[in-house]
Symmetry: C2
Subunit: 159 residues, 2 copies
Amino acid sequence: MPIQHYRTETYRARTSVGYLLKRAHSLLVDHLEPVLATSGFTFTQWVVLMHLRDGLALNATVLCAQLRHDSGALTRIIDQLEKRGLVSRERSRQDRRSVRLHLTAAGRQTVDGTMPAVVALMNAALGGFSRTELADLTRLLIKLTGTLENGSAAARVPA
Amino acid sequence: MPIQHYRTETYRARTSVGYLLKRAHSLLVDHLEPVLATSGFTFTQWVVLMHLRDGLALNATVLCAQLRHDSGALTRIIDQLEKRGLVSRERSRQDRRSVRLHLTAAGRQTVDGTMPAVVALMNAALGGFSRTELADLTRLLIKLTGTLENGSAAARVPA
DNA sequence: GTCGAATAGCTGCCGAAGCAGAAACTGTCG
DNA sequence: CGACAGTTTCTGCTTCGGCAGCTATTCGAC
């Protein structure tokens, strides 16, 4: 039995978590894009490279789930990055349906090169935050995504 | 002099605020869309109606800024909603360049009809949160957006 | 008042994401 | 073995957001 945080009569867009999430993310991307553009990347391309660098995804299917992105669109992004020599495709031998992705040396070097500017931007954005506040924010966001990933939220919606 | 929250060597996508914001928002929208589809709305259309209902935006320019949406795209969304009789356009008399937007009675009734399901969904998504946790999350998100709206973040990025 | 600059909104165009379906492959069950 | 369901990736089609340019209107300097 969850708490009634919001009520129908008093729900307002501007104070809702959903609106604030969108706004914060959108503003962050707007600040990030010019920085990445100096390295010749769109935001989406850079995110793909970051995930490959961190070993979070070895193939397109997992990458789609992680990034909540369309598989068709991802194919085309990988095409671009492969053409630039930053990513390589290789058919898996265990399961020949699957294509293993990894960063090339050039790809790793390029994405590492973007990190100082990105980290500086993030730290500036969080300039007014104490360490505790950032830890709280991170924890609460992880908690929220955890709830949303399990089907529990959708299941409770009345017909 | 902001705190060095993140460092170049240890920055990882999965634990960064940016990634978590995107993921949380995206999951929330995925849950919301089927609910709104039963009323015949896309997420974007519904957000526009909500803002008009709450009196947050009286014309297209303000609405664009609020929603961080393109003015051209917004014109077409308003077209659809006007054609369905949910929104009305009216040239302002004070400034005839400006078009005042408002919900029609039908529009208000329709968007109000979506509220119970939306509120139920949000409460389910926040099921594991205490009142304090939701208050903290909301406050921290507002704080973050505030920082990002003032140009301070971008200004500090090194060349 | 007049002229140039700025603002509000709309239209055409382009690129990227979403959807559906095809092709290649795997594993299972009879 | 062979039919069939399920995966993984890729390819066309459609839709939608972002950009540039246009018109109408207003503001400000002179």
